[in-house]
């Protein structure tokens, strides 16, 4: 691999890692508070891309307005999924909630097939993002610069909210102890809603950028990224936001680098994600940055 192509792969790995990181955050935040894997998260991510598509092609909204709308609607969808599928089961055995999560995932996916149709749609990309720039002989699509920068901004905002604001403190308090949080006057239901909203908005930011990079939209596009981001969250230590980011970048980078250096095994790229997961879990069952012993999913 020449140094040029190496940089090309590096930029691809960074971009893919950013997307995994953004989606992984939603899994990890929800797990941190409810000890629940939100299996519908990949579908929530998928919906965000369709909202942009319909915003631009059906309602003729400017591109950036569609994106803002997509982020808001996706955040709302996350809140609705929690209200409808998880909240009524808050005090039920965990297996019931997990089945409900899987059900919610299939429901959204199949509704998308019915409503949006199974035929692929093309994500609207402004010409600006189609440019490829040459840096020292390396040609890099401009989205590869754009994605990590936006991801970084989104992460800084999120971490600020979680670490510095009163709402963020309440989120961390609820993740540790519901009942005592209630004794502080914290409404656990509101905090859970905020968590789902924030996590889903992060997935929407990821979804929009996913569309820029992989513009072929079908209702199943959420499945694989959702699964990979879940793996990323587990690798980093589920429940830990920084861990999810680390896991996302690690996974994206590994995936790209392996298929770049071993082109013959490209067909197995998804398998590498799982091998990495198994390898890390064998040596550190709680994930790279996880502290508590993980619970069985």
């Amino acid at each position: 691999m020449s140094i040029n192509t190496f940089f090309q792969h590096l930029s691809n790995g960074l971009a893919l890692g950013s997307l995994y990181a953004l989606i992984a955050i939603g899994y990890t935040m929800v797990y941190g508070i409810l000890r629940l894997i939100n299996f519908a998260h990949g579908e929530i991510f998928m919906i965000s891309t369709y909202v942009v598509f319909y915003g631009v092609s059906m309602f003729y909204l400017p591109w950036w307005v569609s994106i803002l709308v997509a982020i808001l609607i996706t955040g709302l969808l996350g809140i609705i999924v929690e209200r409808a599928a998880y909240r009524p089961l808050r005090n039920s055995p965990r297996i019931s909630v997990m089945i409900s999560a899987i059900g919610a995932s299939y429901l959204i996916q199949n509704l998308a097939i019915v409503i949006f149709g199974g035929r692929p749609k093309s994500f609207p990309i402004p010409d600006y993002f189609n440019t490829v720039i040459q840096v020292q002989g390396v040609s890099v699509p401009i989205v590869n610069f754009f994605i990590p920068v936006i991801t970084l901004v989104a992460l800084v905002v999120l971490i600020y909210i979680v670490e510095k604001t009163k709402t963020g403190m309440a989120m961390r308090a609820v993740s540790r102890d519901y009942e005592t949080a209630r004794l502080m006057g914290i409404s656990v239901d509101n905090i859970v809603s905020i968590t789902f909203g924030l996590g889903s908005m992060m997935a929407a930011i990821g979804g929009v950028m996913w569309g820029l990079k992989y513009p072929n939209l079908i209702p199943l596009i959420g499945t694989m990224p959702g699964l990979k981001a879940f793996i990323a969250a587990v690798i980093g230590g589920i429940g830990n936001i920084k861990g999810a980011v680390l896991g996302g970048f690690l996974l994206g980078m590994t995936e790209i680098m392996i298929i770049a250096s071993l082109p013959d095994v490209t067909g197995y790229r998804d398998a590498f994600a799982f091998i990495l997961l198994i390898g890390i879990l064998i040596y550190k069952p709680s994930g790279l940055l996880g502290q508590d012993i993980g619970e069985k999913v």
Binding site: K166, M169, A170, R172, A173, S175, R176, D177, E179, T180, A181, R182, L183, M184, G185, I186, S187
Partner: protein
Amino acid sequence: MITISDLHVYYGGIHAIRGVSLAVSKGQIVSLIGANGAGKSTTLRSIMTLEKPREGRILYKDKDITLTRTTDLVKDGLVLVPEGRHVFTNLTVEENLILGAYLRKNAQAIAEDMAWVYQLFPRLKERSRQRAGTMSGGEQQMLAVGRALMSSPELLLMDEPSLGLAPLIVKDIFEIIKKINEKGVTILLIEQNAKVALEISDYAYVMETGNIVLEGKGRDLLKDENVKKAYLGA
């Protein structure tokens, strides 16, 4: 300030509280003593509506609060220091205190209370940036009390503040409970350590298997033969 009448609470099929009635007047320190499993904690938890009583009424400031949400009770000055401290171990000391004031808006009043808490517990000030989980049991108890004070309580419910603490620290905690009371906070206290509790109490109730079996002034109960035998180890 608070009046409980004929409270009945069930856990599944178990009749845990069997018609408890008690009252606390403004400005008092009242304690509820008794053995493990007598129903003391359940009584306090019912006041905070963490448990749903099947029968009975709880009047706080002359309002029936049996169905009021916990959040609204906290807003109205009814605050519980839970048994076993339950500080947020993943948050810093200061963050724990800030969360105590979660529902309050007046930044200046919050800052004054924070200063008061730090004055009562200088140790917390030294450790304000430290994670609560890294502190000793006694320090965590101080934090739990400090955090409750940040909610600006009018009636402070304390569940076993001496649990698992060294005798010297127990003495400190009770000194501070007296100071808090002198500031005008009414206190309803649960204790297994009957002696220290009765010494500072204006009035006390003795609980056994879900019933109040004896009540009286703290000083009188200290001299009561039955109390002496059962709870004071005399």
